[in-house]
């Protein structure tokens, strides 16, 4: 995706430090990011320039994020909107989705999670994930549920298989423990025990499909999460 077409993102966020950090992070990933610091400015830009994606903070001075979202949808704008909110109560989520948001992310969020959501929204409409993933000498068949590396068949438990599939689906990108807890374990509440569980599963998975082989695919990024990628030196 990267290089072929540059994704243009409008970031409507009044907190300058957050805006700058997100902008720099996204630009480093190859996106083109414009910041709008107020609701009025954001709405003006969103309606006059074509963007591929809008990142919208809900709590804004002047025009509230929900208002902008409602107004945009009233103008039949189909640009995907990812809502960023510090208000994590159920009502706010429902409100945001009702007003036409495509997804939401609660502050403080992990940056890899934001990237994953942006990629998911940008990918929308295209064919879904392939039933077979290949990365270097690793091959995973989702239908037959087999894992082969360097010609060797690797026996994985169901959980390990799901974990590996998720990592392959996000190959080359960092995956946080929070993402794994929610998407692989289907646990929405944040809790410490599950982080330990994830670490154990990652260690076991690594012992089965990575350590016995010459090159390293599964890396731990301390403090952030895990990434499955070909080693580049």
């Amino acid at each position: 995706m990267r290089g072929r077409c540059v994704l243009k993102i409008l970031l409507i966020e009044d907190e300058p430090r957050v805006a700058r950090a997100v902008q720099e992070g996204l630009q480093a990933e190859g996106f083109r990011v414009t910041i709008a610091a107020t609701g009025e400015d954001g709405f003006f830009r969103a309606t006059t320039e074509p963007y591929d994606l809008i990142l919208l903070d809900l709590m804004l001075p002047g025009r509230d994020g929900l208002e902008i979202l409602t107004a945009l949808r009233a103008q039949k704008s189909a640009t995907p909107v990812l809502v960023l909110t510090a208000r994590d109560t159920v009502q706010d989520r429902v409100c945001g989705l009702d007003a036409g948001a495509d997804d939401y992310l609660i502050k403080p969020f992990a940056f890899p999670e934001l990237l994953a959501r942006i990629r998911a929204l940008a990918r929308r409409g295209r064919s879904d994930a392939p039933p077979r993933f290949v990365l270097a000498d690793l091959a995973l068949d989702v239908v037959a549920r087999t894992c082969v590396r360097n010609g060797q068949n690797i026996q994985l438990t169901n959980r390990e298989f799901d974990l590996l599939e998720y990592l392959l689906r996000h190959a080359g990108h960092t995956v946080t423990r929070e993402m794994l807890a929610r998407d692989v374990w289907q646990v929405t509440e944040r809790m410490t025990p599950l982080n330990n569980v994830i670490d154990v599963h990652i260690a076991r998975l690594r012992a089965k499909m990575d350590t016995p082989f010459t090159s390293r695919l599964l890396r731990t990024i301390r403090g952030v999460g895990f990434v499955l990628a070909e080693e580049t030196s």
Partner: protein, 449 residues
């Protein structure tokens, strides 16, 4: 606006009112008694005099010559066919008329003379001789006596009233004095001196009971203040630890001319600590929202057995790492209305806690069953168990048995507090109970209907 008197004044007024009413009732009785007494004395006197005159008339056979021997001091009148036949000078002196039908009746056989004097009279017909006898006795004195009595009784009213008010005020003051002392002592107790207690002089009387109740309240207040103090201290400790780490790691990394690898290492450390902080904050927020009663649940029929199975399987790897065995005994399904995510949170924290405090090669048994209309989830471990006095406190925030303040073995000490919140918000109870195992047994009880 309604006037508000102090209790002392209200008591005083009540005293005075009671004394006044008592006095009026007693005075009335005295008056009634005295007036009856004087009346019957008069009647007796008249009857005696009448009987003497009657006897004289009868003894002399209707002849009136003997009657002069009775003298002129008795007041009587004899008439025949309406005309006076004999009258004493004493009768005439009273001014009473000689014609009987002109006698002015007052009440109870009393007659009033024209000059206002009142006489007790008796009039009768002496049948064989055709005489009518009328005998009178002066009632003025007894009436005057009665009036004097009334005067005395009335004069006693203000005296009694004054005595009632003064005495009542004094007595009320005496009765309320210990209350005043209690008030003063209670006012001296502040948030800083909650360990003070009110003196209980006689635990059986009303004030003793009041002081005991007050002391009980103080004890509970002191307890919650103490818990708040401990919570604040623990929370700031838990928050400061990662903050200190973040700060020092950042400072050290900046001070030295660190290469890329060292800088990355520092950044990673900072992120790890940030994650700790984030978790801590999330957990505290969950609990704070629970305290504020702002958590909305969507209870749906939930298969408790399946949920326990799922959580057990999720956490089994942690036990395997410590070579522990985890055994789940559950019927096919146990349905109870519950909010699955929060209940899962509770089970995860409880089972994780059991794994954490059970030594290597230990065992954890989880049993789901239905008893007395409740779904019961018992988590029994082979760890050291929990002392009886700690069983309640382990659910307090940041409380750790043995005060082992290390994060090396995981959480910040909020796990069981969150578990309790999550179970209770689902209408259940959670507690550590006795079991046949030497280890701890955590029992979650959820109502089925």
């Amino acid at each position: 606006m309604k006037l508000r008197f102090s209790i002392r004044w209200r008591l005083t007024l009540w005293y005075a009112a009671v004394i006044l009413v008592t006095q009026l009732v007693v005075s009335g009785l005295i008056y009634q008694f005295m007036s009856n007494r004087l009346q019957s004395e008069l009647v007796a006197k008249v009857d005696t005099g009448y009987a003497v005159v009657e006897a004289v008339v009868k003894n002399s056979g209707g002849d009136l010559y003997d009657i002069v021997h009775l003298g002129q001091n008795d007041r009587f009148l004899l008439t025949k066919n309406g005309a006076a036949v004999y009258v004493t000078s004493a009768w005439d002196e009273t001014g009473l008329p000689r014609e009987l039908d002109r006698l002015e009746r007052v009440t109870g056989g009393q007659t009033m003379a024209p000059d206002g004097r009142v006489f007790q009279t008796r009039t009768g017909y002496l049948a064989p001789y055709g005489y009518t006898l009328s005998y009178a006795v002066d009632a003025t004195d007894s009436r005057a006596n009665l009036r004097t009595l009334v005067m005395i009784l009335l004069a006693a009213v203000p005296v009694a009233l004054i005595l009632g008010v003064v005495g009542g005020y004094f007595l009320a003051g005496r009765a309320l004095a210990p209350l005043e002392t209690l008030t003063r002592r209670a006012r001296e107790i502040t948030a800083e001196s909650l360990s003070q207690r009110l003196p209980v002089e006689n635990p059986g009387d009303e004030l003793g009971r009041l002081a005991a109740v007050f002391n009980d309240t103080l004890a509970r207040l002191e307890d919650s203040f103490e818990r708040l103090r401990r919570f604040t201290a623990d929370a700031s400790h838990e928050l400061r630890t990662p903050l200190t780490a973040i700060r020092s790691v950042g400072e050290v990394a900046l001070q030295h001319d660190s290469d890329g690898e060292t800088a990355r290492e520092a950044l990673s450390s900072i992120l790890v600590e940030t994650e700790h902080l984030h978790h801590l904050l999330e957990n505290l927020l969950t609990l704070a929202r629970g305290d504020a009663g702002r958590t909305q649940l969507k209870p749906r029929p939930t298969d408790i057995a399946a949920l326990a199975g799922r959580v057990t399987e999720d956490l089994r790897v942690l036990a395997e790492e410590k070579n522990q065995t985890v055994e789940l005994t559950a019927p096919a399904d146990v349905w109870a209305p519950a909010d699955s995510p929060t209940l899962q949170l509770a089970l995860m924290n409880v089972i994780h806690n059991a794994i954490r405090y059970t030594p290597e090669r230990g065992s954890i048994r989880i049993t789901v069953c239905v008893r007395d209309g409740s779904a019961i989830i018992d988590t029994v471990d082979s760890g050291p168990g929990i002392q009886a006095d700690d069983r309640e406190r382990v659910f307090e925030r940041f409380y750790r048995v043995g005060k082992a303040r290390s994060r090396a073995d995981g959480g910040a000490g909020l796990g069981l507090a969150i578990a309790r919140w999550a179970v209770e918000i689902n209408g259940g109870t959670i507690a550590f109970v006795d079991s046949d195992s030497p280890g701890a047994c955590c029992r979650i009880r959820l109502p089925i209907v």
